[in-house]
Every structure is written in C-alpha cells, then in structure tokens.
Symmetry: C2
Subunit: 268 residues, 2 copies
C-alpha cells in the first residue's frame, strides 16, 4: 500500500522535474540546532544517546538491566538527532550549493520521522514515513507551488475515493508562547491540511499538509536568492501511514475488494 501511494504521489508530481533526495532518519545536531526546532517543538524531538564507558561502566549497565533499574543514566548525547520532518535535511544541502537559481528549486524527499507523542491512537505514531515535495525560491514561486498542490492533493485524494476536506491549521507549538504562534500561523494561513475521517468524522485526520514557512528555513540554513535576498520555502507533506489507514478505514481490510478505480491508481 505504501509503495502504491508513493508511486501515485510520484505520478502526481511528474513533469515538475523535482530532484529526488533520500536521507537516513537522522541529522547532525548542529543542523538540528540551526533549524530552531527546540524553540517551537522541544517536546517532539528525539536525540540519540550512546554508551561511551569502559568495562567497569559496562558491568554497571548490565547489573541495572538485570535488576530492572534504569540503565540509561550513563548514555551520553551523540551528534545525531532523529529527523522531525522529511524536509529538514534538504535545506542545508540546498544552501551549500550557493544562491537558488532563477526558477527556484524543487525537491522530492521521503524519510522516516520521529515525534515523541506516545499515544494509543494509531494515526499518531512515534516513527512514521513522510513523503514531501519542497519548493525553495522567491515568495511568489513558493506560494504558487503551494496553491497548485492544494488542487493536486485534492485530485489525488478524490482518485482514491476518500471523503475529505481542506482547512486552515496550526502546528502543535510548545508551551505558553506556542499559543501565540499557533494563532498567528492560522491568521496568516501558513498551514493548510487535507483531512480525512479515520478515527471519527468529528476529528478527521490530517493526511496531507501544505506549509508555507516564509523565510524560516531560508534564514536558519542561510539560503540566498540570486538578488541576495533570503529564500522562502514551502512544502507539501504526505503522511504515508495515515493515508494507508484512511484507505483501510474507507475501503476495508480486503484490498482485493477495493473499488477497481482505486486499485488502478495504486497499482496501475
């Protein structure tokens, strides 16, 4: 199902000439710090820690595991942070190439992502796959890209025969300051979501998001336009597990009984 969804997303973007990039599910701590993620979503981040001791410290770890005590106290932070959204490793790569060309830059990326939101709700996994198209360029370019994909995203979901609606949305920013950020994000219409009922009709699940980051990643990674201005960015994110669950919810667990038209989109 995920393979079929990925192929359908590829076809929906075919002809745009997006550069395909694939990264491991982690990025360097320095890059992560520059993205300012800890300011807005500290509660979601996953840092990778390692054992750096010798034989004596090792014996203590094993003793703790045997007696059921916490053995992770000795773990030290490594240089790796888990990727919070598929597009994070893209921006430093683009920045390193120098100014963005006149026509803008388009990237196709997919990665496992991590978000520390333990929940028994199946649409809220801690590790999940996110496919993205990312546009980097002048404000007008990235806004046109997002407007175009708002239509394409709905066309794709319609071809999968899923009930859906598009709505303005906000990210779950952390803490008291986060409330202000969320309100501002909604007011400026920086984020739209394509919602499909999965758990319930009252609380439909965001399966595609359409995000305009203004100059956040341009500033964080120092991505310049040819005229010296800061690049703006936008991304379209497809939640592959959520789309899979939406398909199973609406078309049933017997894939061979799915509508022919839907099967033809996923497995042409």
């Amino acid at each position: 199902m995920i393979d079929g969804l990925e192929a359908a997303i590829t076809r929906a973007g075919r002809g745009d000439g997006a550069e395909v990039m694939r990264f491991p599910p982690g990025l360097s701590r320095t890059q992560f710090e520059r993205s300012d993620y800890m300011r807005t979503f500290p509660h979601f981040a996953g840092t990778v820690h390692c054992f750096c001791g010798g034989d004596r410290e090792h014996r203590e770890v094993l003793r703790c595991i045997e007696t059921g005590e916490d053995w992770t106290g000795q773990q030290e932070a490594s240089d790796i942070v888990l990727t919070p959204a598929a597009c994070y490793p893209v921006y430093p790569v683009i920045a390193a190439r120098g100014p963005v060309p006149e026509a803008g830059t388009l990237v196709d990326v997919m990665s496992y992502c991590f978000r520390h939101e333990p929940s028994s709700e199946p649409t809220r996994l801690q590790m999940f796959r996110m496919r993205e198209y990312v546009c980097i360029g002048a404000p007008g370019q990235v806004l046109a890209f997002r407007a175009d994909w708002l239509k394409r995203g709905q066309t794709l979901i319609r071809s999968l025969a899923l009930p859906h609606a598009v709505d303005v949305a906000n990210d779950p920013f952390f803490g008291r300051a986060g409330k202000v950020m969320a309100n501002s994000q909604r007011e400026l219409e920086l984020k739209f979501e394509l919602l499909v009922p999965v758990n319930s009709a009252e609380n439909p699940t965001a399966c595609i998001s359409f995000n305009y980051h203004v100059d956040h990643f341009g500033r964080a990674s120092d991505i310049k336009l040819l005229d010296g201005g800061v690049a703006h960015t936008a991304c379209i994110g497809f939640g592959l597990e959520r789309l899979t669950m939406a398909l199973l919810r609406h078309h049933g667990l017997d894939i061979q009984a799915w509508p022919d038209a839907v099967q033809m989109v996923l497995w042409p």
Copy 2:
C-alpha cells in the same frame, strides 16, 4: 542503485516464499533489553531521549543552545532504541505467533540501522540500510538455509562483476570478554562474510554476512519449535550502502558506462 540492488536481492530469494516485513528504524526498549545487545555491543547502541520539561526547563534549553552550552542534559530516555540490525524486530513478532511450523519460517526484512561508530571511512556509516533474509526453525533447517545462501550470495556478486572472497569472521564484541566471544564465534564458524575490496585490497569490506545465531534469539524472544525445543535462527544480511560503494568503486561513477550485464542485473 539501492532500488536496483533490492530488486536483485528479491529475485535471488524469489520462490522461497519469504514473508515480507518492514519496520520503522526503532524498537521498544523492553524488546531491545531482552535481545541482550547491551551485553555484547553496548558501544554501538543508540537510545532515543526526549525533553519532558515545562516552560522553565524549556527556557534553560534555549539559553544553552544560544550560548553554545550542552543542552542535552535534560533529555530523558524514551521507550525507543534504534534498530541495531534489521532482523531484531522480527523475532518478537515470530514468537508471538506460537511455535514455529514444521517447515520453519522465512522472513524478508529491510530497515535503517544505527551503530555508533563515528568514522571518516565511508563504508562505516552510523545510519545505513540493511536488507536481510531470516530463517527460524530447527538447527538443520537454518544451517541448510545459510549454506544455500553462501552459494546464492556469491552468484549474485558474480553477476555484479565484483571481485570477492568469502571468509570466516567475527563481530566486534565489546571489551575484554568480547575477545573470547570473537574467538569462539570464529572457531564455531558462526559468521561468514562476503568481502569486496572497496577501500583497499588488504582490508576488503564485508558486503554480505551469513550468520548462524544458534539459539540466541530463540531464547531471547522465547521462540519455540513444535516439539517444545528452542528455535535456532540464521540471517543473511546485505549492506546496501556498502554494495553500492563497491559497485561505484569497481565500475566507476558513470553508471551508463557500467558493463551491460551488470546494468541488466540491476535494471532489467
């Protein structure tokens, strides 16, 4: 290249009826502890840690990041440990099904893996993709599976026109006790590697490994045979990035100039 390698590995195993399983790049800490990985390879493991504080603790994290101080001291261990080898999440799934059927169980798995061995050597990545075939059953079954794949692995590498040799090997066990384990592993011929020169002819790179775990994972995950005995396991692991680097090293960076026969294997 990775897609082509994966398809070729799939074809090499076609007809065996292996069950395809795909997991996220992490497993639960409880499962990880049961695998006894911290006894043998504590230095490679990556535990995932998260921020669990409130607004006050958040301000302290941001202050540390701004002043360049270590901000990870507040991170607390989550329930997730990064997958150290692709087959680790397979064993608990198989155990939960009850006794292994008469014919044994065969699984096809692929995952990003993490090993904390920072190195400037490109064949020694911290995050890399490992494809595996895993056999679970009676000792004779899993040994026959491994013997069969020792031949198939060489046939595959020959079809990719890569120079290679097979040799007995050992895992890089930790500490003083590790030396004894490594010697015993070699003496009992529990691990073979298919080596291809990538960095040098003197120190060729293990691109495929052929591992007999005896009853290690059977005991750790409590996998039983129909007669009540403990299941034995073996796995064949393909290092996808290492195989890619071997291809680039021997056939050059211009893929269209690669031997036609090799291109036909990867992109038939």
